[in-house]
Every structure is written in structure tokens, then in C-alpha cells.
């Protein structure tokens, strides 16, 4: 076996090419978790088709002792389990890398490249010899490659075993067979190849205090912790798992053990128009309610979102973005709904948008979203994406402040209503912050009012009068100014050196940008970084812009939507913003940021 690989400890990429529906996800997650438990920073990205069984699917594990979580663009070890994609997978291996394949059916002629190592392991044959049922054989093949990798890159077997025990805690019989399969691969690799490879792992202590979690689960947890009781949704990839997780957590924490009674209500709506309607109906009644969706759902909800803006009904929406336009590539990631979310609906509407940058922020910002929605009495859209939502990210453990109490905003309780001198008027702004106190149906007779999206005056009465209408929408504008003061501040990262260039970005670009900044710094290019976490833009965002001569706006869409929003909503000159765009549907690769900025830098040096 040729060995071109230079030693790369704790810094490489394993990519696994599988067939959808063969149970490989469990094996791949197991791999990633084992690395994580060895204290080594790791991330896993899943590239799966919009299909249930039979099509190609990939899983990319990046091991990075420096804690870089973005895609790096190189593949050091390819586990090629899908004959359909052999040649493509072969091409992708970086020079000096290794390709592992199932040599039950030898393919030496097809699979060969002089600059990489080819490792054939007869996974199917070994599993077929050892296991009887067809079903089990398919599954065990996956475990067998886990074993082989364990030997090749030196994953601690006891870590794997512990994971397997946890995995099958409820089906003990399976523990043994799985461990057997792992041993098959492990032993074969050890016997036939010089294990471990130079590209390998070595225990570190860098994952303590961290967890591996996906953003949808984290957001669901946020909903539970924020006290949401009503969830409504229509299934759509990649947002479905958010509601699945919410339900699961609620079954665990919100169900009476004795009576089986639930103190939550999840409604699988007939479509997205109904889902947002259910949220508005519940929120009008004072429940915290939310709906997860993706781009097409956001489009369908837009009439109702405008309604909620004008009638001032709180609502929390999660748009887990996938590739658009139109129905798009449902299993690919993008940040293409920024404008659609910010200005959803016809007429003069604008909405609070939050941009979590990782699962931890999905948790935190989903709690913030409920507080903001209640405080501002308006829809808040949490703009996540497939990469954050469905991939496992390593992040710091979530914290919870036991003193936290929901900010329900200006809600008059029945007693206060009873004490009101005059009548209750829904849209009167007593404090000048644009926010009018509301009441909850069923509370007190004096508190009743008429919610309508059609023209209403400050008293909540129907109107078609110009001045009355203008008064209401002008107040809404005032409320918008208040929103800018309440939303989460941007995350700012400053270089140690003085820098006149800045990067502005959002959401899942974060890992790529952070890595790029380090690598640029190594080349002597120093940039500051402002990760926007909310729209409207707070003054900190505009201050960041104003302090830099030149700003790179990094985002994952074709049309520079974040930059467009900055052009409309700040006074920063457009000709000082430069777009760095990545919109092919794969999680962002840090190199595109490095290259774009370096190029501009070199142009500047040359000029």
C-alpha cells in the first residue's frame, strides 16, 4: 500500500459516500461522536438527496484541532460505499489522501489514482459471512467501516463501545452484534494495513463544556424553555425536525406522568397558511406560539404575516432556509430568504428577523424571539438554514438563567383593565415607544376589542379615513425604531492590529468567516468582523460600518440580499461594500472568503 500522506494529526476531513436509506447515518454520527468524545473538535455535514431510499448521500467529517468548523474543501479520507459515485468520489480525494472502499467486489481498475492510497476492505463479504438476515447485513456493513476507520485513524475502541452501548440501551441484543461488526473492520484493517495512518487522531481536551447538536433541536429546546405552548406546522424539509424535537421534549417535560395530560398542543396543519393562522389565533389569546417552516412556506404565509404586522399580533416563525428560488433544492442550504423575511407581504410591512449563527444561538435567539414578539407585538422571524438546522455543530453548552421570566410585553391583565378609567383602546400608545398595550380575550369585559387587518384607527375601530390610517402606520414606524433598540446586538470580533477593513455577515457563514480571518491574519491581512444577529439593524451595526473604509459582506445567496438590506436601511455608502457570495447549496467553504479578500488586498497593493 502506497503511503503518500504526510502526517496530519487531528486536522483532516473524512468524507463518507453512502446510499440513502441504508442506515449509514447512524454509523457516521457514531464516528463523529467518538471523535468528539476523544476531546477533538469535530463537525459533521450531511449532504443528502431529496429522496428516501437508493440515491447517493454524503457525510463530511472535519476534524480540526483548532476548532474550525467550516468546510475546508479538501477530502483526506474518502469512504466510498456507493458504487454509483465511485469515480466522482475518487476525484474528490486530495492528493496524498486515502480512499477506502468495499473490496468484496474488487475494482482495482476503476479505482486507482497514483497520488492517493486505496484501501480495499471486503466489508460485505465479512458481514455476509458473519450475519444471517439481509437486513442486518446491510446495517452491519456500516458498522464494519466504522471499525476499519477506528483502526486507520486511531479512534479509541472503548469510546466507540460506550457510544454503541448508549445507542442500543433499549435493545441490548444489538450491542454485541454491532460491536462484532466493528471488530470485523477493525481487525481486518489492522491485519492488512499499517495502522494508524499518518492522518490520524490523538486525544485532546478541547471539547469539554461543549455539545454536538443540530440547530433545529436547539431551537425546539428554546421554544420549550421560553414557555411556548402552541406549535403549528406543515412538514417541510429542512424544518420538520424542529417540530419533531419540540414534541419529543414536550412529551418528556410537559406531560403529566399520571394522567398523561399534555400542557402543550401541537397542530399538524393542512398547509402553511393554516399553520401561521393557528399561531396568530393562539398568540392573540396570549399563548406563546410558533411555526417552523422553510422558504416556500414563508411565501405562503406572507399575507398573514402582513396582517399580523398591522393588527399587531405576536408570532414566532422559524424559516430554516433551503435553496431557492421556488421549491428549490430542499436538501441544500442557502441564505436566500433574507429580503423575503424582512419585507414579507404586500404594503408597507417590515419584520423583525433574527439570525442565529449556530445551534447555541438557535436556542438563545428562539427564547429572545418570543420575548421580542411579545414586547413588540409583531411577528419575529428566526432565519436559520439547513446547515445550522440539520447538521450537528459543536458548540458551547447551553446555559439557563433561573431568574429568567418571559417578557410578555404590555399586556393588561383583567384587574388592570377593570381599574381603567375610561374605555380600553387597543392602539393607543401611552409611552411614546410605539407600543400599545393589549388585552387577552376572555379576561375582562372592558378589555374587549376588534382585531382587524383592514383599516383601523387608534381606538381599534374600522376606518377608511386617511389621517386615522396614517396615524396608525406612523406609530408602527415608531415601534420599528423601538425594535432597533431591543434586538440582539451584533457579535463583533476585532483584530489586535488596527484594521480599516471589516467583514459583515450573518448566520451559518460564521465558521467560514472566523477561519478566514485567522488565515488572512497569518498573511498579514487584518480585518474586523461584525456578525449581524438581527434586523432592524441596531446602532452598533451602523457604527461598525461607519468605522471601516471598506466592508466585505459575506452571505450565501446570489443576489447579495444582506448587502441590499444594508443599502436600504443604513447610510453606509454602497460603493464601499463588496459582496462575497456562495450560493451553490453547500455549507460555506472558508476559502472563498480568504480568496476574495486577498485578491482585493493584492489589487490594493498593486495599485
Amino acid at each position: 500500500m502506497p503511503n503518500h500522506a504526510k502526517s496530519r494529526i487531528n486536522d483532516f476531513v473524512i468524507k463518507l459516500a453512502n446510499v440513502n436509506g441504508t442506515g449509514s447515518a447512524s454509523a457516521n454520527t457514531l464516528l463523529m461522536k467518538a471523535i468528539f468524545r476523544m476531546g477533538i473538535p469535530v463537525t459533521g455535514k450531511n449532504f443528502f438527496p431529496s429522496n428516501i431510499q437508493g440515491l447517493p448521500t454524503w457525510y463530511e467529517i472535519r476534524v480540526s484541532r483548532n476548532g474550525y468548523l467550516a468546510r475546508s474543501g479538501s477530502v483526506d479520507i474518502m469512504v466510498a460505499m456507493n458504487q454509483q459515485t465511485y469515480s466522482q468520489d475518487l476525484d474528490e480525494v486530495s492528493p496524498g489522501g486515502t480512499l477506502i472502499y468495499d473490496s468484496t467486489w474488487p475494482r482495482e481498475s476503476v479505482i486507482s489514482r497514483p497520488d492517493i492510497a486505496i484501501v480495499g476492505i471486503p466489508l460485505a463479504r465479512m458481514c455476509n459471512e458473519r450475519f444471517k438476515s439481509a437486513r442486518v447485513r446491510i446495517l452491519m456493513k456500516n458498522m464494519a467501516y466504522v471499525g476499519a476507520l477506528a483502526a486507520l485513524v486511531d479512534i479509541e475502541l472503548k469510546v466507540i463501545e460506550k457510544l454503541v452501548r448508549e445507542m442500543f440501551a433499549s435493545k441490548k441484543a444489538l450491542i454485541e452484534s454491532n460491536m462484532e461488526a466493528i471488530a470485523l473492520g477493525y481487525d481486518y484493517a489492522n491485519e492488512h494495513f499499517a495502522c494508524p495512518l499518518p492522518t490520524r487522531l490523538k486525544r485532546l481536551n478541547k471539547t469539554a463544556g461543549h455539545i454536538m447538536i443540530d440547530g433545529n433541536t436547539a431551537a425546539a429546546l428554546g421554544c420549550v424553555y421560553a414557555g411556548a405552548t402552541v406549535g403549528a406546522w406543515y412538514p417541510i424539509t429542512p424544518s420538520t425536525s424542529l417540530m419533531d424535537a419540540f414534541r419529543a421534549f414536550c412529551e418528556e417535560y410537559r406531560k403529566d406522568a399520571n394522567t398523561g395530560e399534555r400542557n402543550f398542543c401541537v397542530v399538524q396543519a393542512e398547509d402553511e397558511l393554516a399553520a401561521i393562522g393557528i399561531v396568530l389565533g393562539a398568540a392573540w389569546n396570549g399563548a406563546r406560539a410558533f411555526t417552523p417552516t422553510s422558504g416556500p412556506g414563508l411565501s405562503l404565509m406572507s399575507e398573514f404575516i402582513g396582517f399580523a404586522y398591522f393588527a399587531e399580533v405576536p408570532a414566532v416563525l422559524f424559516d430554516v432556509q433551503r435553496v431557492g428560488p421556488s421549491t428549490g433544492m430542499p436538501t441544500r442550504t442557502q441564505q436566500g430568504d433574507i429580503l423575503a423575511a424582512a419585507y414579507a407581504s404586500h404594503g408597507d410591512t417590515r419584520h423583525v428577523v433574527l439570525f442565529p449563527g449556530d445551534p447555541r444561538e438557535c436556542f438563545e435567539l428562539s427564547v429572545a424571539a418570543f420575548d421580542l414578539a411579545d414586547r413588540l407585538q409583531t411577528p419575529v422571524i428566526v432565519l436559520s438554514d439547513l446547515d445550522i438546522g440539520m447538521n450537528d455543530w459543536m458548540c458551547r453548552e447551553f446555559e439557563w438563567d433561573p431568574a429568567y421570566r418571559p417578557d410578555r410585553g404590555k399586556v393588561l391583565n383583567p384587574k388592570t383593565v377593570a381599574r381603567l378609567r375610561g374605555r380600553f383602546h387597543r392602539y393607543v400608545d401611552p409611552d411614546g415607544d410605539g407600543i400599545a398595550p393589549r388585552t387577552i380575550p376572555g379576561g375582562h369585559p372592558k378589555g374587549s376589542y376588534f382585531v382587524r387587518g383592514s383599516g383601523h384607527n387608534r381606538y381599534g375601530e374600522y376606518t377608511e379615513d386617511s389621517n386615522e390610517y396614517v396615524e396608525v402606520v406612523d406609530r408602527l414606524k415608531r415601534k420599528w425604531a423601538t425594535a432597533a433598540k431591543l434586538v440582539p446586538e451584533p457579535a463583533i470580533r476585532r483584530t489586535r492590529k488596527p484594521a480599516s477593513w471589516g467583514i459583515v455577515s450573518v448566520g451559518s457563514c460564521n465558521s467560514a468567516v472566523n477561519e478566514a480571518i485567522d488565515r488572512l491574519a497569518a498573511k498579514g491581512i487584518h480585518v474586523n468582523y461584525c456578525r449581524i444577529r438581527a434586523f432592524p439593524f441596531s446602532s452598533k451595526v451602523t457604527r461598525f460600518l461607519d468605522r471601516h473604509d471598506y466592508v466585505f459582506v459575506v452571505e450565501q445567496n446570489r443576489d447579495a440580499q444582506l448587502k441590499s438590506l444594508l443599502m436600504v436601511e443604513t447610510t453606509y455608502p454602497a460603493d464601499r461594500m463588496h459582496s462575497i457570495l456562495s450560493y451553490g447549496g453547500l455549507p460555506m467553504d472558508y476559502r472563498c472568503v480568504v480568496e476574495a479578500i486577498e485578491e482585493t488586498y493584492l489589487e490594493g497593493v498593486a495599485a
Binding site: 461522536k33 468528539f36 454536538m212 447538536i213 420549550v224 424553555y225 421560553a226 414557555g227 402552541v230 403549528a232 417535560y253 410537559r254 403529566d256 395530560e261 399534555r262 400542557n263 402543550f264 398542543c265 397542530v267 396543519a269 393542512e270 397558511l273 393554516a274 393562522g277 393557528i278 399561531v279 396568530l280 389565533g281 393562539a282 398568540a283 389569546n285 396570549g286 399563548a287 406560539a289 398573514f304 396582517f307 453548552e397 447551553f398 439557563w400 438563567d401 433561573p402 421570566r405 418571559p406 387577552i440 380575550p441 376572555g442 379576561g443 375582562h444 369585559p445 378589555g447 374587549s448 376589542y449 376588534f450 382585531v451 387587518g453 383592514s454 374600522y462 376606518t463 377608511e464 379615513d465
Partner: protein, 351 residues
Amino acid sequence: MTSIVKPRIVHHGLSRNRLGLTIRDYEGGMSTLCAGCGHDSVTAAIIQALFELAVPPHRVAKMSGIGCSSKTPAYFLGASHSFNAVHGRMPSIATGAAAANRELYLLGVSGDGDSLSIGLGQFAHAVRRNIDMLYIIENNGVYGLTKGQFSASADIGTAAKRGEVNEQPPIDPVQLTMALGGTFVARSFSGDKDQLVPLIKAGMRHEGFAMIDVLSPCVTFNDHEASTKSYQYTREHSHEVMHTDFVPPMPGIRVAYEEGEVVPITMHDGSRLLLRKVSDDYDPHSRGAAIEYIRTHQRKGEIVTGLLFVDESEPDMHGINSTTGMPLNELGFRSLCPGKRRLASLQRRYR
């Protein structure tokens, strides 16, 4: 500007209900519908029924979509909360309201356009979920508010009533709701207060989705000769010299008839409806028999009115969900938030 405040006259000596309220306490703003509109009669029946039921007005949430019918919640129960949703989407608002507060009385008013065209999907699924609410369709066969286009229920009357359009089979909310498994299905006529008031009361009491299809003539656009047709006619055949915006004053149509009786109703356009009131001994507990009964009389050109089907045994949305008895919007935060310690322990799964 365009909303009219109704003079509030306190009548002494008005009878009072169990709560000590008079019927005035169940009224709302002054109607801005056309004189004689069937919807106003339904409004009156709702006021009467809720007064008799002695529901505290503030415990009622009124909901509607968009249309003349959907405007009517402004004309009754002025002390109730109300939600005037976007067109066709009231059922989802109601579903959310029910989810948040299972103790609120939900009363929805919709139109045939609102429920059978743009809102058909939401309507059907609210039926299927058996949301605990009363849902009244004020059915006039037209889109009143947008000036008289035919709705999907057009042609419920006599066969030739509206010319060529009757080739498209009307969607009958009663048969549709039966087919969708509705648990309370009734039909009435706006002018028949004797029948309508008890039906509304029964619907309010029903634990689940109660649908009342109320035939409610649009005096303005159902008026064959004077308006629908001439409106069409002006547009289609004559030079458009002038706009026609004249709505002649019309009286509402009233009717009173006995159980088991069949009466013809003459509509403003001269067409006739044959209404049959189910007789005293009609048993509304069999879905099959109800469908059969409706269809049999339909073949004779009769529209059956009354409580046609009811099933009190089906669980509503909360029953199916096993939701806790206390309204979700009243649960304290402590009972909802798993807390700091649990957060720490549950995160072990993600290591």
C-alpha cells in the same frame, strides 16, 4: 368616518337573563349592510340566542374572514373580543384560539365565498379536527362584498335560477361537512328566527365543531332582474356609459313554519326555495340516514332545514391531544420551563 356609532338607548323594563344582562348587552354596532340583507337577520338571531344562553359576552370570541357576512361580528356582542381574519382563513385562527384557551366560547361567522372557495381547505380541516366552536356560514350564493360574482354554492335554489352557471354543481356545505365527518351539521334560513335561535344555542353548547349553513339572501346581488342580471348586462352588453351603483331598498324575508312542514320562500329575484323543516321525530344521530334523508329530499327540490346530524361522542382537538384541562394560556411559566438543572442533564445526550 365610515363606521357609525349606534345610539345606545337604555330601555328600562327589558327582561334580564341569568347574568342580569339585557338583550342590549348582546348587541353590537349598527349594521352597515344593505337594508334587507339576510345577514342582519342572522345577527339578530345570534344576539337573541346568546342572550338566552346567558353567556358572559367577554367569554365569547367572535371570528370571521372577509365578506359582508364576515363584517357582521361588528354588529353583535359589542363586549366580546373579535378577530376579523384575512379572507378564508378564519378556521385556522379559530384553531389557534381553541388551542390556547379551551374555555373560550368560539363563534365564527363566514360566507359561502369565504368558506367554500378560498377557505375550503381550512374549513374542511377544522371540521376534521373537530374544533370546539360554532361556525355559521351565511350562505347567499354570491360574493356580496365584491359585488355579486357567483360563489361555489351558487344555484342552491331552483334549477334554472341563474341561467348557465348552474351547470357547475354547487358545493353544499351540509353534504360536504357530512362527508368530512362533521359532528354537528345543521341548516336554516336567515328569516326563520324560530328555528335559528335554538340551533345557534345548540351549536354553542355542542362540544366540537358545530356547522350551521344559513341560507341568507343577498338582496342586492341575488336580485335577478333588477341587479345581478342588469349589473352583468350593463357590463357585458351595453356601452359602459355609466356605473350602476344603485341598490334599491328591500325588506328582509321572514318565514315561520312548523316542524315537518314544507314552505316555499320567494326570493327577491322571484325565484323560489322549497324549505323542509325536519319533523319532530327526525333522529339526527345516524350519519348514513342523514345523508340519505338530505339527498332524498334534494331530489324533490327540497332543502332540508333543522339539526340534521349530531354526534356528541367524538372528542374535539383537545380530547384527541389529551390536553390538560386548564387553558394553555393560563399555565404558569414554572410549569412550562424545565429549568436550569434539567437543561444541564439533558445536554449529556449531545455529548
